[in-house]
Symmetry: C2
DNA sequence: GTAACTGCAAACGATTTGCAATCTC
DNA sequence: GAGATTGCAAATCGTTTGCAGTTAC
């Protein structure tokens, strides 16, 4: 994660551009594997290591955010333009964005007693997405 | 995860009891590895598989909850007596419990436009724990 | 006695790393 | 040309699974 030698300059290679583009165009919180697959259509031969290295760099520089959900196995990525929260479908795993406004005063009050200094937050709301809820309505008590 | 044959009865073995006890006694949101290590002191020879299998069962039966944090590599476990949220130190990774009250009406309003049906939520507040904040105050601008 | 459970070791999938070749500045 | 970056393959790491032996009920 931490390179022994920090590069003195960063290069904007075709691979990095493609990864960034794919991330910006994706609305579905893709995993690194999803991103690799999509990027390979534009830059055939690109390796997984490059995708992981680039994603790590994007996250570190605040241009992307990692999302780890309770159920999912792989880390998902999100272009982090603005802070936002997530609606996670417990049935199909789909993730949608939503904004839950919690003000700093509230966070400070909650964390205060432990002397914790809050700097941000992420709310994950779990439930069922429209599609799964509808599917369930037709299959009450059945096996999902 | 889903056994081909669902057991018709469950046995309360010494291993399971030890794992459950360790989890109940742990205040620090241990990883499966942490739990294995602690349980091995009570039940020498216990294997990792047993710990993972038991934790999966505890989670499934609602007696424990999985916690996946943005940074951490391994899943952490939590005895889930009551729903609660988490203060996550971005520096040392320590996790403390906190309760952030969001009422159902709010969740419904937020999720409503997408027809998502909320059933629960988890707020992760990131920041620095008291210890790390204090350490930083003495080492301003230094390398953590 | 028998189905459930355990420990071990091998299998897995996601992610990281070492390294020689390649490319950007 | 130098240093950064890439792709590959091997290495890690957390977690799961197959299986023969053991145990709780």
């Amino acid at each position: 994660v931490t390179p022994t030698t920090t590069p003195t300059s960063l290069r904007f290679t075709p691979q990095r551009r493609a990864i960034y583009d794919v991330l910006c165009e994706s609305e579905d919180h893709p995993t690194a594997g999803d991103i690799l697959e999509r990027v390979q259509r534009r830059v055939p031969g690109i390796g997984a290591a490059t995708v992981y290295r680039t994603l790590a760099w994007l996250v570190q520089s605040g241009q992307a955010a990692e999302l780890r959900l309770g159920e999912a196995d792989a880390t998902r990525y999100d272009r982090s333009v603005h802070r936002h929260d997530h609606l996670v479908c417990v049935q199909c795993g789909q993730v949608e964005d939503v904004h839950v406004p919690l003000d700093h005063k509230l966070l400070d009050e909650l964390a205060g007693p432990t002397s914790f200094q809050p700097s941000g937050y992420d709310v994950q709301i779990h439930g069922r997405c429209a599609r799964c809820a509808a599917a369930n309505a037709h299959n009450v008590g059945g096996i999902a």
